[in-house]
């Protein structure tokens, strides 16, 4: 949840996508500026944080890697509950991974509605000659579901800073709009305040679709 009123923000961002599309590589590049380095000193790349300063506001970004294997798919809701943003990664050389992203989008919109800022990320653009997902198709799809589309290469460190900076700005807008809606009260709503819980039944589907990229 975005906490701290107008002075500083804390955002939770989940990373979703099929195995091997480069999720881990993306965050390691972003938070530690490392790629495929055998001497990486980082102990783990599953939870990483980044502190940003955006137009004078402090932002604490917590990036949650998720287990991408199919057998863990059902655990998705436990991971992405209460997240402010989701980065959905596919590999531009792998069409299946793009289909996976579409499934994630559907699920996220169904469970979290428009409270969550979605980024669809085509990674490995350094392998453009093997591209299997058309640029305009991906961009058109993103627009149709109220998400933004980005192209990155974790290998060449391309497009990653922009991706996260843009995402932060959008999450700040969403959080501020939220606050205004609540009449400036610093409190979070009772329902959203609840932490992680294990529940078997599906939460009620929120109003799906619509555009969240607040102008």
């Amino acid at each position: 949840m975005a906490a701290g009123g107008s002075r500083s923000f804390s955002f939770k961002v989940v990373l979703l996508g099929e195995g091997c599309v480069g999720k881990t590589s993306l965050v390691l590049r972003y938070c530690e500026n490392k790629f495929n380095d055998k001497h990486i000193t980082t102990l783990q790349a599953s939870f990483l944080t980044k502190k940003l300063n955006i137009t004078g506001k402090r932002v604490n970004l917590a990036i949650w890697d998720t287990a991408g294997q199919e057998r863990f798919h059902a655990l998705g809701p436990i991971y992405y509950r209460d997240s402010n943003g989701a980065v959905l990664v596919y590999d531009v050389t792998d069409e299946d991974s793009f289909l996976k992203v579409k499934n994630w989008v559907k699920e996220l919109r169904k469970m979290l509605g428009n409270d969550i800022c979605l980024c669809i990320v085509g990674n490995k653009i350094d392998l453009d000659k093997d591209r299997h997902v058309a640029v305009d198709e991906a961009e058109r799809y993103a627009e149709s579901v109220g998400a933004r589309h980005y192209h990155t290469s974790a290998k060449l460190n391309k497009g990653i800073e922009e991706l996260f900076l843009d995402l932060c700005k959008r999450m700040m807008e969403t959080a501020q709009a939220d606050e205004r809606l609540k009449g400036g009260g610093a409190g979070q709503s009772v329902a959203s305040r609840r932490g992680v819980q294990i529940v078997d039944d599906e939460p009620q589907a929120a109003a799906a679709g619509g555009c969240c990229s607040s102008g």
Partner: protein
């Protein structure tokens, strides 16, 4: 002697694990062999007393504090809390969120609506000092069945309270307000024992929210300072509330604990390979870290403060990361971490896992759970538990039949087929255990354990013999000493003799017995 049979009692009968009241649930040594429900019934009164002691302590601390602040403080603060006099706490009619409107810090602007103001006055009545007197009447009737336990816990709460006070003293003026509000909150919670777990959680969360909002404006938005205070507040409040809100009888937490425990036990056959865990336990450093991770996750149950429980999970996760890093030589991603955590949970079968997860979810400071690092590991633990609950053949890359056979114990995944008997040599000698080691590492481990046990048994026997020897020696020594003393006494019988004659020149010498003093004689000549 009967000690011989007693010594053999290492084996534990299933019935000894069950609640002493025979209700069918498992008992717990910490609850003197009762299950939580019977324990609660049995020791309702002890708890009553505990609460009173807490209150007495709170009052004591309050007095201490009053003294501490007396110099810097005008009389206005006292008048506020003593102005009301309500004879009885209205447990039933207390609004569940009543505490939400706490007396504001004097510095803060009064931005509340009329409705909130109304709440403040009604709530204050419940917090007035007279309500604190109510349970004291019960204390006269209440007997205390387990003084040792209540003393132990009150010692801990005492220490936590002192630490809290110490911490708040550095905060000066707001510290006093914080303490006051926490105290009032704990008192209000004592009247809400009948509420369900979710409502209790709601109360605590509302309190956190309210307090941190106020602190936020006091510290001018420095979230680090607010967090620092809130950590202490959580520690103070939850140490005191722990007993009444952990695994409360209004929930089925305990049932879920048992179900999970059984489930994990039934999955004992799951191997590290099936879960695709990237930890190589052959490497000693890795298996060290695995053991530490298991210990950490088990330890969680022994902590009272949600944050301390979270810290155990974080510790456990760090050990897992180290194990993965050593094995793979690259930082662990979520794909490595989650299966490894699942494996650790299966191996550890942590006590009261569901209760602990629920407790943390209900009573932990929410910001920590939602964006913090601890929250990430906690979420993964929740995922691990969810995975274990739902686990089927497919999630382990097994066919449904295989899975069923393993679950029913007809087959073991360590051997290719399920027919025939175990290649187990019955004599259990050293040579046979080495041959079986090649066939089955579990059997080898079993043999090893058996050997350890029997050697332990032998050592125990030896110890008992030595103890008996020592006892006999002691007895004979005592006899010997007695005999000697007797001998000496006989040899030198006690005679009562007249006191020795006194010296000639003593003052009180009876002159009649003595020869007359020498008188000078003059010899002529």
């Amino acid at each position: 002697m009967s000690q011989r049979t007693e010594r053999r009692g290492i084996h534990v009968d299933q019935s000894e694990l069950l609640c002493k009241k025979g209700c069918g649930y498992y008992g717990n040594a910490a609850w003197q062999g009762l299950c939580s429900k019977c324990w609660r019934e049995e020791y309702q009164r002890a708890r009553q007393k505990q609460i009173q002691e807490d209150w007495a302590l709170a009052e004591k601390l309050q007095r201490e504090e009053e003294v501490a602040y007396a110099s810097s403080q005008g009389p206005q603060s006292q008048s506020q809390s003593q102005s009301q006099s309500q004879p009885q706490p209205l447990a039933q009619s207390t609004p569940p969120h009543g505490h939400a409107s706490l007396a504001p810090f004097s510095k803060f602007e009064e931005k509340k609506t009329n409705e909130k103001m109304r709440k403040v006055t009604t709530v204050k009545k419940f917090f007035s000092p007279s309500t604190r007197m109510a349970p004291k009447k019960e204390s006269q009737e209440g007997k205390t069945p387990s003084p040792s336990i209540s003393r132990q816990t009150s010692m801990e709460t005492d220490r936590v309270s002192k630490d809290f006070l110490e911490f708040l003293k550095n905060l000066q003026r707001p510290g006093r307000e914080i303490h006051k509000q926490c105290r009032a909150f704990i008192e209000s919670m004592a009247n809400k024992k009948d509420l369900g777990a979710d409502e209790l959680s709601e109360c605590v969360q509302d309190f956190y929210q309210n307090l941190s909002d106020r602190l936020m404006s006091h510290f001018k938005g420095s979230s680090e300072s607010v967090e620092r205070v809130m950590d202490q507040v959580e520690k103070y409040i939850m140490t005191r509330l722990y007993k009444s809100v952990f695994c409360p009888e209004t929930t089925d937490d305990e049932k879920k604990d048992l179900a999970t425990q059984h489930r994990i036990r039934a999955l004992h056959w799951v191997t590290i390979e099936m879960l695709c865990v990237s930890m190589d336990e052959e490497i000693p450093e890795v298996s060290d870290n695995v053991v530490k991770a298991i210990t950490d996750v088990i330890e969680m149950d022994s902590k009272r403060v949600p944050r301390d429980k979270l810290a155990c999970i974080t510790q456990c996760s760090k050990h897992i990361f180290t194990a993965i890093k050593i094995t793979k030589n690259e930082p662990a991603s979520a794909d490595d971490f989650l299966p490894a955590l699942i494996y650790i949970v299966l191996k550890a079968n942590p006590p009261r896992l569901q209760s602990n997860i629920q407790y943390i979810t209900r009573f932990c400071n929410p910001s920590r759970l939602m964006t913090g690092e601890d929250g990430y590991y906690f979420t993964n633990l929740c995922c691990a538990v969810a995975f274990i609950e739902k686990l089927d053949g497919q999630s382990l890359n097994l066919s449904t039949e295989e899975f069923e056979r393993y679950m029913s114990g007809q087959a073991s995944p360590r051997r290719p087929t399920d027919d025939g008997s175990w290649p187990l040599e019955v004599d259990g000698s050293a040579s046979s255990s080495t041959t079986t080691a090649a066939v089955n590492p579990v059997l080898a481990q079993l043999h090893h354990n058996l050997e350890l046990l029997s050697s332990l048994n032998i050592r125990q026997d030896r110890l008992a013999e030595a103890a008996q020897g020592l006892q006999a020696e002691l007895a004979s020594w005592e006899e010997g000493v007695q005999r000697e003393v007797q001998d000496i006494l006989e040899r030198y019988p006690l005679e009562i003799r007249p006191p020795p004659e006194s010296a000639i020149d003593t003052e009180n010498a009876e002159s009649d017995r003595l020869p007359p003093p020498l008188t000078p004689q003059v010899f002529a000549g």
